[in-house]
């Protein structure tokens, strides 16, 4: 497995800011991270330092443990998980220094309060960051497309620098087991910290035994209740799940029924009406086939996507098929966003298809589009009678202009190859804008 090339939001990472440091860059890094003036953090540390030297110890620890600002990038999940923990530690330090500062000013907190509060701060930072900061991967992952375009995964192509993003890369990295494990361990660490804080507080105030009694009785009641209500709860959960599945199923069914009504049944009715015209029937069947295939493979782009070359050629092909009753087969390799020259290319290709359908003697029209390295190439080919370029029929001269001329106007090239008896092939080339 290759590491996928960082499809991630740039996770905020707590680092020492070496550039703006006074000593080790701890304060500057911390300040930059939470977005406040470094001077505030520095004052907090100094204040903490006066409170029995705690600030000094904390500073030194942070110096040792926080990575320097421009450390080399580590793998993504590692970085974010470390970042979270570092943030928690940082917040704990801040809480500590604030509390110690208060104490230094004579507002007396005993250690009974200080340490549990610091622990709670760290635990809360761990837990809340995950839930508030979008750290829960399940919540933010949009539904993965059922069928990514071939080659959509950039993994195998990472080695090849000449393959820029010609297809949309996977929008979001899937939740890796490693990522989930890190998430779970972070959550449990946070919970452990908060519980430890509670126990520390209770034991320090001497009320631990009382709390134990309370917890024990609550536990007993909980066990008793769950034993009594277990079957009922289980049934409830099950029926809820079932109902949900049922609803999804019936929704899907309704969607499919609606689609079949609009398309297949409609076409079948038309076929019956026009059964005396074989050409029309064939064209209807063909169009329905194309449409059903597209629906099955669900290649329909979502509204936000830019129009794509291959889809535009398919559309043009199906229109030509419908208008001229000749099968047009499109094979596309690679794809490209459709810019203005690309639209001209599709228009020229469409013209070539119409031409092939008209003069190709009813043979299948093969369209091949390749959008790979620096350019886009489209070939439109028929197996008709062909013609000698010298005596181009007059009625085809205009068409020739609208293909060759149009391509030239958009910085591309159009060529028509034909010979009597060998069919005709139109070759369109367009240099690719690398915007």
């Amino acid at each position: 497995m290759a590491t996928s090339p960082a499809p991630t939001r740039p996770g905020p990472v707590l680092r020492r800011d070496v550039e703006h440091r006074m000593l080790g860059g701890v304060c500057a890094g911390l300040a930059r991270h939470i977005g406040i003036d470094p001077i505030i953090v520095r004052v907090a540390f100094v204040a903490a330092a006066t409170a029995g030297g705690v600030g000094v110890a904390v500073y030194l620890l942070a110096w040792v443990f926080l990575p320097a600002g421009d450390a080399p990038a580590t793998p993504v999940w590692l970085r974010t998980s470390r970042g979270t923990i570092e943030i928690a530690v940082g917040i704990a330090f801040l809480a500590l220094s604030v509390l110690l500062t208060f104490r230094a000013f004579g507002l007396l907190f005993s250690d009974v309060i200080v340490w549990p509060l610091v622990l709670v701060a760290a635990g809360a930072a761990l837990l809340w960051r995950q839930w508030l900061g979008g750290g829960l991967p399940g919540g933010t992952v949009p539904r993965a497309p059922e069928r990514t375009a071939p080659g959509g995964d950039t993994g195998a192509r990472a080695a090849d620098a000449s393959a820029p993003a010609k297809r949309p890369a996977l929008p979001v990295a899937p939740v890796t087991p490693a990522g989930r494990a890190a998430l779970v361990s972070r959550t449990s660490l946070g919970v452990a910290l908060v519980i430890a804080a509670g126990i520390a507080f209770l034991s320090a105030t001497g009320s631990l035994s009382a709390a134990r009694d309370v917890v024990l009785s609550v536990l007993v009641v909980a066990v008793v209740l769950s034993v009594i209500f277990f079957p009922w709860v289980l049934r409830l959960v099950r029926s809820l799940t079932e109902e949900r599945a049922q609803r999804i199923r019936s929704q899907e069914r309704a969607e499919m029924a609606a689609h079949l009504h609009d398309s297949v049944l409609q076409t079948l009715a038309l076929v019956q009406q026009r059964s005396d015209d074989p050409r029309a029937v064939a064209a209807l069947a063909r169009r329905q086939e194309r449409e059903l295939r597209a629906w099955l493979s669900r290649r329909a782009p979502s509204a936000g996507d830019p129009p794509q070359l291959a889809a535009a050629l398919e559309t043009a092909a199906s229109e030509v098929e419908r208008d001229h009753g000749v099968a047009v087969e499109v094979v596309a390799v690679g794809d490209a966003d459709l810019d203005a020259p690309g639209e001209a290319l599709v228009a020229a290709a469409r013209e070539a298809m119409v031409n092939a359908a008209k003069f190709g003697g009813g043979s299948t029209v093969d369209v091949y589009a390749e959008a790979l390295d620096g350019e886009i190439q489209v070939y439109v080919r028929d197996r008709g009678p062909g013609f000698s370029p010298d005596d181009l029929p007059a009625d085809r001269r205009g068409v020739r202009e609208s293909i060759v001329g149009r391509m030239a106007r958009h910085g591309g090239k159009g060529e028509i190859h034909s010979a009597p008896g060998a069919g005709t092939e139109v070759e369109l080339t367009l240099p690719r804008s690398t915007a």
């Binding site: 080659g151 195998a156 080695a159 099955l296 087969e329 091949y368």
Partner: protein, 226 residues
């Protein structure tokens, strides 16, 4: 008897079997037809056909399952996949299972008989669509040039050459995708038809053996659906 290859037709649609039979009658020998995976495996053992025309989508595992079980019982015939589907994962899965070619059901009787003969002779049969898939799957690896450095991602290939097409193979495939026949390609590239066939067979071998990520992904997608 036509002296041509003996063909077994495997498809779960009775109407379609009858259609193919009438198209092929007189062009090749029809050894029989089968409607299920079970029947197909049994008939392959019993009738020993030269070529099996295989539907991709059937209950109980489809064409891939027939190829797998026929291979398990030894001395399998050659398989030509014939399907209404032209989705990449269907095509690639059945080719990687061992089929020597793939054509869609819209093919004419004459072309089909020609494809059967070609598969019988040990050649590969690529529809324009399949040629397009292969070019797509092998895209992003500059032919030949990247042999040294490009194969790092999909490390299990024993032979990195399997993961790349030669410029000539690429050229032949592009012509296939453009709808040219073997002899037209030979004429255009100035090589013999035999050489064209050799190139296509080499591509088929790479298609079956390469560990290129796109190919395995397509194949896996298919298996999940089954």
């Amino acid at each position: 008897m036509t002296g041509g290859p003996r063909v077994l037709i495997v498809d779960d649609h009775q109407l379609f079997r009858a259609g193919v039979r009438s198209e092929l009658e007189g062009r090749v020998d029809i050894a029989g037809d089968a409607a299920t995976v079970e029947d197909a495996v049994r008939d392959i053992a019993r009738l020993a056909p030269d070529v099996v025309l295989l539907d991709v989508h059937m209950p109980d595992g489809g064409g891939v399952e027939v190829i797998r079980r026929a291979a398990a019982q030894g001395d399998p015939p050659r398989f030509l996949a014939l399907s209404v589907s032209d989705a990449a994962e269907d095509v690639i899965a059945v080719i990687r299972a061992g089929a020597r070619g793939y054509v869609t059901k819209s093919i004419s009787g004459e072309e089909l008989a020609d494809a059967v003969r070609r598969v019988h002779e040990g050649d590969a049969v690529f529809s324009p669509k399949l040629a397009g898939f292969v070019l797509d799957a092998f895209a992003g690896a500059p032919a030949g040039a990247a042999l040294a450095g490009g194969a790092g991602d999909h490390g299990t290939s024993d032979d990195p050459a399997l993961d790349h097409l030669t410029p000539r193979e690429r050229e032949v495939l592009r012509h296939l995708a453009r709808g040219y026949l073997y002899k037209e390609i030979a004429l255009r590239l100035g090589i013999s038809t035999k050489t064209v066939e050799a190139h296509v067979s080499a591509v088929l071998r790479k298609l079956q053996l390469s560990n290129r990520h796109e190919l395995s992904r397509w194949a896996v997608e298919r298996r999940l659906v089954e």
